[in-house]
Symmetry: C2
Subunit: 349 residues, 2 copies
C-alpha cells in the first residue's frame, strides 16, 4: 500500500454570495506514493488530520481569482509521515499555516516552506484532548483571549455582548468573560444554540437574533448598556450595537461575517452611528491574531486556557465534518450558521 | 460707579444649520451693582475676561431648547471682583466651567457652584502670557496632548494627519507631533491657513481641502499612508481618511464639526469604510478631555506644554474678538472656519 488516496477539493470558480457545495467546489481523486516520493532538502509530507473551517477563508481565499482551479488553501493540524527536514520527525504533530496545506488528505511541502510549520505543544498534549489543539490552544484561543484582554480590558461586573456567540471564537470569549466576573450576553441564530449558550456555557443571557432582532434583543438583555462588544458580524449588527454601548465601551472587531459574501462594494453596509463612537468615547479596534505572537498576551493565553480546561472551567465545543468528502459542506454550513461551536473537518485519526 | 454695564448675549431660538448672528442671538443691556450686591454664603462675582469659543457649544448648548431665552452658557477665564467664599479672593484668576458663567460681562455665582471654579496656575502665570491660560494651559492643551499620547501613541518617523489643523486644537497637536519627530500633515479651509501651517507652525505638508478635496490631498501628501489621524471633522473626512490609513493606524476622534449643524438624523453622514477599521486593525477612539483629569497624562501635559512654550518650541495662535458685542460674531465665524488659531472673545483686561 505504498500508493494511497490523496483526494482534495478544488475551487471551481470564485463565488458571488455564499458559495454552494456543488457549484463552487469539486472533489478530485488523486493518489500519492509516499514511499517512493523523493523529497528535496528540508521537504516533508504531512497527513492532514484536522482542517480548521473559518469564515476568513471566504473573503481571503475564495474571492481571490488565483485560487480558481487549485486545491483550496487550508489551515489545520497534521502529522509528519515522511521527512527530509531535521526539525520535523515522522509522527510529529504540527500546525500548517494557510497557503501551506490545503483541503486535501496529504500535503507535500516543497522548498523551505516546511520551516513555517509549528509543533503542537507536547507537554500540553499529555493531559488535553487532541482536538483542543486545532484551534483552542492555537489561533482560536489567541483570537479570543488576547484582544479581549488588551482591547477589551474586562472588569468584574461589566457587561459583555458577543455576536455569533455559539461559534468558534464566541464560545471561548464568553467563557473567559464569565471566569473574569462579567455579565455575559450572546446573540446567535437558532434556539438550539441559545440553549447551548445558556445551559452548557452558562451565559447570563442569550437570544436568537433571527427571531427578535439585535435591537430588541439588546434592549431586553442589556438594559443598562454594553461595556464590551466582541463582534464577529460587522455591518448592521455592529451599527445597532454601537447605539446600545455605554460610555467608554470597547468594541473588539474580530470579524465581519455579514460582509464577506458581498462582492459589489455598493452593497456594503453604510454605518449611521459612528458619531456615537465619538460622543460616547468608545474605543473600536480591529486586530488579527498574529499581531499578538510573542507578546505577554500570548504567554498568558497559553497558560490560562490550559489551566481553565484542566480545571473544567472552560469547555470547547466542536462541530465536526468527517472525511475529505464533507469538507466543503462543513465549510458552507458554517457560513450559513449551521454549526454549534468550532467548525472543523476531521480527515484522519 | 457702583453700577456697571453687564451686557450679555441671549439665544433667541435654537438654530437649524449654522446659526446667524442677528437671527439667533440678541445683545441685552443689563447692569450690575457690584458694591451693593448681597452675596450669600460662598457666592462670588466674576468679571469675565476671556470667553472660549468652541465648536461643541453648537450641539451641546445651542441645540438644547432649555437654552432659549437665556444668556448663552460659556466657558472662560475670569477675575474674582467680589467674594463671600474663603477659597476665592478678589483679584484671583479662575476658570469657570460651562453652565457656570455665560456670554456676559459679569457673572454672579449663586449657591455652591463657586466650588467648581478652578484657579489659574499662578506659578505658570509668572513667565507665560495670560491669554495662553484660556485654553493652551487648560482644556485645549489637554485635549490635544492627552489623547495624542494615550490613544495615538506617536512614534518617531510616523505620519500624522490632522483635520482643521489651523484651529484651536489642531495647531497644538501638530506642534507636539513635530516635537515628537513625526511627519505632520494638515488640512484646512483657506490658502492663508495653509501658509500659517507651513510657515509659522512648520508642518511638513498642508493643503486646502476646499480646493483639492480630502481624498486627493491625502493621496498627494500622505502617499505612504497615515499612522495617526487626529480628527476634528468626522463625517466624510473621517470616512475617506480611513481609506488612507496604514495598518495599525490610530484614529483620535476629537470632534465632528461636520455633523454639529445637522438637525435631521437622516442627513447624518453614512460611513462606507468601517470594514477597513477591522481589515487594517485600526484603533478608532473617542474621548473627552475631562476623562484625563488627575491622570499622569494631565501632569505630563502641564509640564511639557509649559516647557515647550518657554523654550519657544510651541506657539499658540489666537483669533480674538474684542468686546461682548462681538462674541456671537466670533463664534459664528469660527463655525464657518474663518478663524486662524483658537477663537476667543476678550471682554476685558
Amino acid at each position: 500500500m505504498t500508493v494511497v488516496s490523496n483526494k482534495g477539493i478544488i475551487l471551481k470558480e470564485t463565488p458571488k454570495g455564499i458559495p454552494k457545495v456543488d457549484e463552487h467546489f469539486e472533489l478530485v481523486h488523486r493518489t500519492i506514493d509516499i514511499e517512493n516520493l523523493k523529497l528535496g532538502e528540508n521537504e516533508v509530507v504531512l497527513k492532514n488530520m484536522y482542517l480548521s473551517l473559518d469564515p476568513y477563508i471566504r473573503p481571503v481565499i475564495l474571492s481571490n481569482p488565483a485560487s480558481v482551479g487549485k486545491i483550496v488553501f487550508g489551515y489545520g493540524l497534521s502529522k509528519v509521515v515522511k521527512s527530509n527536514n531535521p526539525n520535523y520527525k515522522v509522527e510529529d504533530l504540527v500546525y500548517a499555516s494557510t497557503a501551506n496545506i490545503g483541503w486535501e488528505e496529504y500535503s507535500h511541502f516543497k522548498s523551505d516552506a516546511a520551516f513555517t510549520l509549528k509543533h503542537v505543544n507536547k507537554e500540553l498534549l499529555k493531559d488535553t484532548p487532541l482536538n483542543h489543539h486545532i484551534s483552542l490552544f492555537n489561533v482560536g484561543g489567541l483570537t479570543a483571549y488576547a484582544p479581549l484582554m488588551s482591547i477589551g480590558e474586562p472588569k468584574e461586573g461589566e457587561t459583555i455582548f458577543i455576536s455569533t456567540a455559539a461559534g468558534s471564537i464566541g464560545q471561548i470569549v464568553g467563557q473567559i468573560a464569565k471566569i473574569k466576573g462579567l455579565r455575559v450576553v450572546g446573540s446567535t441564530g437558532s434556539d438550539e444554540k441559545v440553549d447551548f449558550l445558556l445551559n452548557e456555557l452558562k451565559f447570563d443571557a442569550a437570544f436568537n437574533y433571527k427571531k427578535i432582532g439585535i435591537d430588541k434583543g439588546l434592549s431586553k438583555h442589556c438594559p443598562n448598556g454594553i461595556d464590551i462588544f466582541y463582534d464577529n458580524v460587522g455591518g448592521e449588527t455592529l451599527d445597532i450595537t454601537i447605539d446600545h454601548c455605554s460610555r467608554f465601551a470597547r468594541i473588539i472587531m474580530c470579524g465581519m461575517t455579514s460582509q464577506y459574501n458581498i462582492t459589489n462594494p455598493e452593497e456594503k453596509y453604510k454605518f449611521k452611528n459612528i458619531d456615537k463612537v465619538f460622543l460616547k468615547q468608545i474605543r473600536m479596534q480591529g486586530f488579527s491574531a498574529p499581531q499578538y505572537k510573542g507578546t505577554d498576551f500570548e504567554k498568558a493565553c497559553r497558560r490560562d486556557l490550559a489551566e481553565w480546561v484542566r480545571a473544567g472551567k472552560l469547555i470547547y465545543k466542536e462541530d465536526v465534518s468527517v472525511g475529505i468528502e464533507n469538507v466543503a459542506k462543513g465549510f458552507v454550513d458554517m457560513l450559513n450558521g449551521k454549526n454549534i461551536g468550532k467548525a472543523v473537518a476531521k480527515l484522519s485519526d
